[in-house]
Subunit: 249 residues, 4 copies
C-alpha cells in the first residue's frame, strides 16, 4: 500500500477506534513508514475522533518530528518509538484506554483468549508496571525513552501488553490487523469477565489452538488481510456514518 | 412464502442480526429452499451488514454452489449443510458469535431458559467441543463435513447448541422464528448471567412450562408466525433505519 | 386531562417505553378512563413502538372491547382488568419484560429501593408465582381472569410486582408517573445488582425515607405531576427523535 | 473567560453531561461568577438536556436569585451555595445521579482511583450520610442550608463526595475540568466495579501517583486546561450532534 493510501487508512483507523469506544479523547494509533522503516506516522496531539490527514506527522525513533509541526506531539509517542525499534515485524501500533481491558491490569486474573477471534492473545499478555522503571513517585505516563524501552521489553514478542492503571498497547503486522486486534482485545476482555462471573474453571483457547488458527490465517490470508478487510469495510462504514452525524453533514 | 420473498427475508435477516449485535462482521444465516429441500440459500462470504440480494447463493449439502459465485463462500457453510441434512424439520439456521452466549460455552453454568420468551431453550443447550472431532491441534473452525456432522449430532433434536470458545448455532421452523430465537438466546444469556450474579438457586422455567408454552405457540401461531411477525416488523424497521444512517441515504 | 389528550399521552407512553428499552416488541401500557372508571384504554395487540392513536381501544373489566376492533387484543389484558378492579387509586398500568428486573424474580435477592428516585418501591415488591394459580403445567401467561385476580392480589397495595420468569407490572396515580416508575424500576434494578456485586451489607433506602419522600412528592406535586412532567418532556423528545429516525422522516 | 462565554460553556456543560448519561432529567451544574466570587450561575429548575442560555440564573449563597426568575429554582441549589462558600478554590460544581457511582455509596467498597485519568479521586471520596444531619425520617434531598453545609463539610478538601442512596457531587478549578471529572468519576466506577468482579486485591493508583500526576497537570496545563480542552472539543461535538437529532434540525 503506497504511503498516501496508508495515511488514509491511518485517519480511518483513528475514527474507527473512536467510534468503537476503544479510543476516547486520548490514545493513539500509528503506522510504520513502508519505505523508511526507521520512521512512523501518527497524528499530532489531538482527540482521535477529530484527526484529519493534515494532522498526520512523520516521526523518528527519538520521538522527533521530521518536519515542523503545527501544535504539539503526543507525550507518550515513545511507546511507538521503542516498540518499532525493538520489533521489526511490527508495522502498526495502537495505544488505548480500552475500558474493559484496564481491570485485567489491576486485579488477579490474567487476560487470556476465550474465543477464536482473540487467538493473538495466545502468546501471553504481560502487564507493564511503571513503578519498576519510574519508581513509586511516577506520573503514570510513558513519556520518555527509558519508559518506552521498558514497556517494549515487557511486550517482548507478544501482541498485547497491559499498562497497569492506564491502558494497553496492541501491535500488528499491518494497520488493519492492529485495529481489528485492538477491538477484539476489548471484546475478549468483556467475554472473559462474564465467564469469570459465571464461575470457573474456564475452558480457555489452548496454546495449540491459538497457534494453529494464527498460523492458518497467516498462510491463507497474506498479512491476515482477508479477515481484517472484511471487518475493516464494516467498521469504516460505521465510522463514516458516525462522523456524518457528528459533523451534521 | 415464494423463494423471491424468502430471499428478501434472508437479506433482512442479515441486517437485523447485525443491527441487533447478534452478528458482527462474521456469522451467517441461511434458509432451506422451499421447493428443493436438499438445497439452501445464504450470502457469499461477506459481512452480514453489507449483504444484498445479489449476494445470495444457492448451495447443496456438500457445500457446493449450484451456480458460479462471485467471490468466495463462507468456510463454515458445513454447519448449515449437515444440520439441514440431519433435521428435516429445520428450515432456517443462524450461526453467530453472539457475545453474552459465548461465556456459557467456556464456564460452568449451563444455558437454561430464565424467562418465557426463551422457552425454546427448554430442550437443553448442549456444548459442542471441537477437540472431540478435530483433536487438540485444531483451528477452531467448523470448516469441513466431518466437523459439521459432529456439530449436528451434538445439536440433536434441540434448537440451540453452543460452540466452545467460538459462538452458537440456532435453528427454527422458519426464518423469522430462527432470527427471533437467535436474539432471544442472547437476551436469555444476559438475564441468566445477572441472576447468577444476584445469587441462586435460580428459579428456571420448568421443562413443563417450556413445553406447554412451546406447544401452545405451535398450535395458535402456525409455525410460531404471529409472535415472530410482531417482532419481525419492529426489528425490520430498526434495521432499515440503521442502514439509512450507515449508507447516508 | 381530557380523554383525547390522555390518548395522546398513551401513544407517547408506548413510544417512550419502547425507546427506553422497558418495552420491546411485547408488553403494554394502559390508562383508566377518567369519566368511566370501570373502563380503560390500551392499544390493540401491536408492538408498542408501532402504536398510533388509531390503535387505541377501550376495554371493560371483563377484557371485552367496547367497540369493534381491527385485529386482536393483547392476550394478557386481564392484568389490567383485575388491577383496575381491585385498586380504585390506580389510574395507569405498565406491564413489561424490562430486562434487569427479571433476574430479581428468579433469584434470591429482593428488589428494594437503593436510591431516592425509586422511593415507590419502599412498600415492598412481591413476586407473583404463576404456578400457585395455574399449576405446574402452565403457559407462563396471565391470560385469563383467574390469573389476573391472583396477580392483583399479590400486588396488593404496592406499586410494583414481579412476575417470575416473565416480567413485572407497575402502577401509578397517573400515566406519566406510571411511565416514570417503570423506567426507574429498571434503573433501580441495575443499581441494586451492581451494589450486590460490590458486596454488602447494602444501605437501602429505609422505609421511613421512602415514605417521607413519597408523602412530600404527593403533597408538593399534585399527583406527583411536577417531577413526572420534567422527566416526561425529556423522554418525549427522545422518543420522537427515535421515531423520526425509525420512520426516515 | 468573560461571563458571556462562561454561560455558553455552562449551557454546553448541561448538554454534554446529559448526552454522556451523567445527568438524566435531574442533576445540575454550576459555575462561580468570575467577577463576583460570592455568586454563581446555574439553570432554573429544568431538565439539563433542555437548558438554553435564557434559563441561566444568577444566585447568591443564600440560594436566592439575584434577578426575577421565570419558573422555579432547583430545590437542591444549597449544595452549590455551601460548597462555594467553604471552598474558594472551587469554580464549578456538578451534582448528578451518575449511575455506576451510586452503588459505591451504599455498599462496602470505597470508590478509589483505578486508572490515571481519575487521579483526582486520590484525595479520598467520602460518603455523605444524610441521616447524620437530617435524622432517620428525612426526604433524601439536600434542600436547605443546614444540609448543604453538612455536605460541604464531608467533602472537605476533596474533589468528589458521594451522597448515600442519591448521587454524587464533583468540583473543579474550572467548568471544563469539573465536567471532565464528573464523566471520569463514572468511568472509574465502572472500571473499579469490574476489577472487584474479577477478584482482588486490586492494584489502585497509589497516593503518590495520584499526587504526582495531579501536580504535573496543574503545572503544565494551567487550570488543567489543555487536557480538559481536548476532551471538551470532542464532548461538545457529540452533544451538539445529539441535540440536532433530538430537535430534528
Amino acid at each position: 500500500m503506497p504511503i498516501s493510501a496508508l495515511k488514509g487508512d491511518l485517519v480511518t483507523a483513528n475514527h474507527i477506534l473512536f467510534q468503537q469506544g476503544v479510543l476516547d479523547a486520548f490514545g493513539h494509533v500509528s503506522v510504520r513508514d513502508p519505505d523508511r522503516p526507521d520512521r512512523f506516522h501518527m497524528s499530532r496531539a489531538l482527540a482521535p475522533g477529530l484527526v484529519t490527514v493534515e494532522d498526520i506527522v512523520e516521526l523518528d525513533f527519538d520521538g522527533a518530528a521530521v518536519r515542523p509541526v503545527r501544535g504539539s506531539l503526543y507525550v507518550e509517542r515513545y511507546i511507538h518509538c521503542e516498540i518499532y525499534r525493538l520489533r521489526p515485524d511490527v508495522q502498526s501500533i495502537v495505544h488505548s484506554h480500552s475500558p474493559t481491558v484496564i481491570p485485567f491490569g489491576i486485579s488477579q486474573v490474567e487476560l487470556k483468549p476465550v474465543y477464536h477471534r482473540a487467538y493473538f492473545l495466545g502468546q501471553g499478555v504481560p502487564v507493564f508496571e511503571i513503578r519498576d522503571v519510574a519508581g513509586a513517585r511516577n506520573n503514570m505516563l510513558v513519556n520518555d525513552q527509558t519508559r518506552g524501552q521498558a514497556l517494549a521489553q515487557v511486550l517482548g514478542k507478544g501482541n498485547v501488553s497491559l499498562l497497569r492503571g492506564h491502558g494497553n498497547v496492541v501491535v500488528g503486522p499491518n494497520i488493519r490487523t492492529a485495529v481489528t486486534r485492538a477491538i477484539e482485545t476489548e471484546v475478549n476482555a468483556k467475554l472473559q469477565l462474564q465467564a469469570v462471573m459465571l464461575g470457573g474453571p474456564i475452558n480457555y483457547l489452548s496454546a495449540e489452538e491459538a497457534e494453529t488458527l494464527g498460523a492458518e490465517l497467516a498462510r491463507t490470508q497474506p498479512s491476515d488481510k482477508r479477515g481484517a478487510d472484511r471487518v475493516w469495510d464494516v467498521l469504516k462504514q460505521q465510522a463514516e456514518a458516525a462522523r456524518r452525524l457528528l459533523q451534521g453533514t
